[in-house]
Symmetry: C2
């Protein structure tokens, strides 16, 4: 943990909420009981009006800000935007960040024990969708006594959850922040997910998902899946300026060892991920992405699908994001406008592709922080200065 | 073979040229002897001035036009552009199309017998580069008595060979046609190639390239490599309009069987390729792509690298090609202009992405045919009508 922590939430400890109420899922199955692991940052105010929910993306988890340990070198994945004085200002907001069902960071998922069998769920863990996640998040909100979020916020797959909140629970979300997301995957998006799934499922160590019983991991498949993913997270320009055609050593080796720096980077990222993330979880997360399509039950009319939403929206895209390009955010914005909703939209010039949503771009921060400041002001949440003054 | 063959070269028979002269390679090794398999279309004229060389792309081969058998349902891969009255008019030109060294369609490659060991080359086949291919093509030209090509023509990796011809053998190429190509791969291009290579090399059936000795094939890896390749060959729009989010059957199955049409398409393409193409060849071809960079020996100055070229160029790109986008062709065009060369450039509006170079787009055909007509006219090659009239 770096010494300067003035704008950090500091040390945080994950908590676990256990639920015994069975959760009916979109796929038709029911999850009998489950845990959700989560973290909170900031303080819940007396009338419980200052809560903000963070929804995570494909390989994300509950550890969004701060540090778990003094020895941690890196903070949570969205520390750039969550903390005292940051876009999601923990001096004003009480922030909840959870690991979704099906995850592999503490919430019930394929690596958990199936109470019916006493063995790991593995590939028998039921298919969970964005709708199911939001339903489970509502229960977590109930548990924490939060009847309405000041805002629900997420990037990428997280943005889909925000959208679903606004449609399924309009009375429980005061503001929606949808970043680098899309109202549905394109054929190309599905195609990339399918390559990742085939890579994992065709790994001979996958054993139809029962790799744990075989005391192995489908490392090769998960590595490939992550390598493909990384290419789609970075813009062509960002890859070009980061690696170009730089060689690892002075000369070409005319073989299949690493020659170009970009190969070394991808192999390293893939190897690291292949032992730290669960393959069955990865498969579930890609399917949740594929399935999300709120317009599908309205003959493809997104504006009609958005009718139930009541809250104002902030939609943000990034100029070089080719995974969910600005055009996909505009599709959502235009449908929101057609549906008569309140929406602010910003397309941020950034060289960083899809990954830009994780980063501290000044214009992105200004717009994000500005929107959240308005949310806090509307709710009359005191600022740090006001709170200090009141003491 | 369809009945109407007026614009087809009809039945063709591949031929083999054997070379006993050792070929020194860029990697430092020497190929002691080798075969090149090739086809020809049209008739070589008396002064041998009407020959056109076709250079193939990553998974291409010598069978570019016509049919091998009356029962063939599909013609060669570039039949849209080679034939009587087509862009490369076989009434006027004598066309040569070969399978490159390292290939798996008859020319010497990893599947061939290494004369030193009496066993298949397999992974010991030396690394071949674009420069080596062009050197071997020059020997084929010598064998056929062609001292100067009216044009050398190629798309994608084929376009790189055309460029290399213009630099290494300027006196032997009268015109260069470089389609959907790039003067060098970007970091993203190399990254996609690296994913393909890792997929193949990490397949447990790859056996370090000695899969033939194990009487198996790295099908899973080659399938994944082809699936990734296919995504990069098609534009996002083309995939969207071809497949969208269409389902294979009426309902979602909430499992990992094929649900979306695009998954079905990719799996089919991958499966077909995985048993028809040689994995060691695929690895070599991707490395040849990675290595090509004529500017690298000129401190990255492409215009300087292009100095030796003497012929006029036609450069063609396609608006939705994101594998080698129009910007990469413009990079080449601008360098050619800076180097004082004669260059025509067209960016063709097409929804078909990189694959557009294989297709019969009217504006593409008009520009390609127009350039080739000028080539033929300059060489005073008689047109079909003139030839008929002279009889």
């Amino acid at each position: 943990m770096p010494e300067t922590t003035r704008d950090s939430v500091g040390l945080v400890t994950p908590q676990v909420a256990h639920f015994d109420d069975p959760l009916p899922l979109v796929c038709g199955k029911t999850l009998p009981a489950y845990d959700l692991v989560y973290e909170t940052y900031g303080t819940l105010n007396q009338d419980r009006s200052n809560a903000v929910l963070i929804c995570h993306a494909l390989s994300g988890h509950h550890h969004a800000a701060g540090y778990h340990d003094e020895a941690d070198r890196k903070p949570g994945w969205w520390d750039a935007h969550i903390g005292p004085g940051k876009s999601i200002d923990t001096d004003r907001f009480f922030v909840i960040s959870l690991n979704n069902l099906g995850g592999c960071h503490g919430s019930t998922g394929p690596s958990s024990i199936n109470p019916d069998t006493g063995r790991r769920w593995g590939p028998d863990f039921p298919m969970v969708t964005v709708c199911d996640w939001v339903d489970s998040q509502v229960r977590l909100a109930d548990r924490l006594g939060i009847s309405r979020f000041a805002a629900v916020v997420g990037g990428s797959l997280g943005g889909m959850q925000v959208l679903q909140w606004s449609l399924a629970y309009p009375e429980r979300i005061a503001n929606a922040v949808v970043i680098a997301a899309t109202p549905k995957l394109s054929a190309q998006n599905i195609a990339f997910n399918e390559v990742a799934r085939q890579a994992i499922r065709s790994d001979t160590d996958f054993h139809d998902g029962h790799y744990a019983d075989h005391e192995t991991l489908p490392r090769r498949g998960l590595k490939l899946a992550r390598m493909v993913g990384h290419i789609t997270y970075l813009s062509e320009d960002a890859m070009g300026s980061k690696f170009g055609r730089d060689l690892r050593s002075e000369d070409l080796n005319f073989g299949f060892d690493v020659e170009f720096q970009v190969e070394s980077y991808l192999r390293y990222q893939g190897d690291a991920f292949s032992t730290s993330f669960d393959a069955n979880t990865y498969l579930l997360m890609t399917k949740a992405l594929d399935y999300f399509d709120p317009a599908s039950s309205h003959q493809g009319d997104l504006a009609k699908a958005l009718a139930p939403a009541e809250c104002p929206f902030l939609v943000v895209s990034f100029s070089t994001d080719w995974r969910f390009p600005p055009s996909r955010s505009k599709e959502l914005v235009n449908a929101l406008i057609r549906a008569g909703k309140s929406v602010s939209y910003a397309n941020i010039d950034s060289p960083h592709g899809h990954d830009a949503f994780l980063m501290p771009e000044p214009r992105y921060q200004a717009i994000f922080a500005g929107f959240m400041r308005r949310v806090a002001d509307d709710l009359k949440l005191p600022s740090r200065q006001e709170a200090d003054h009141a003491l």
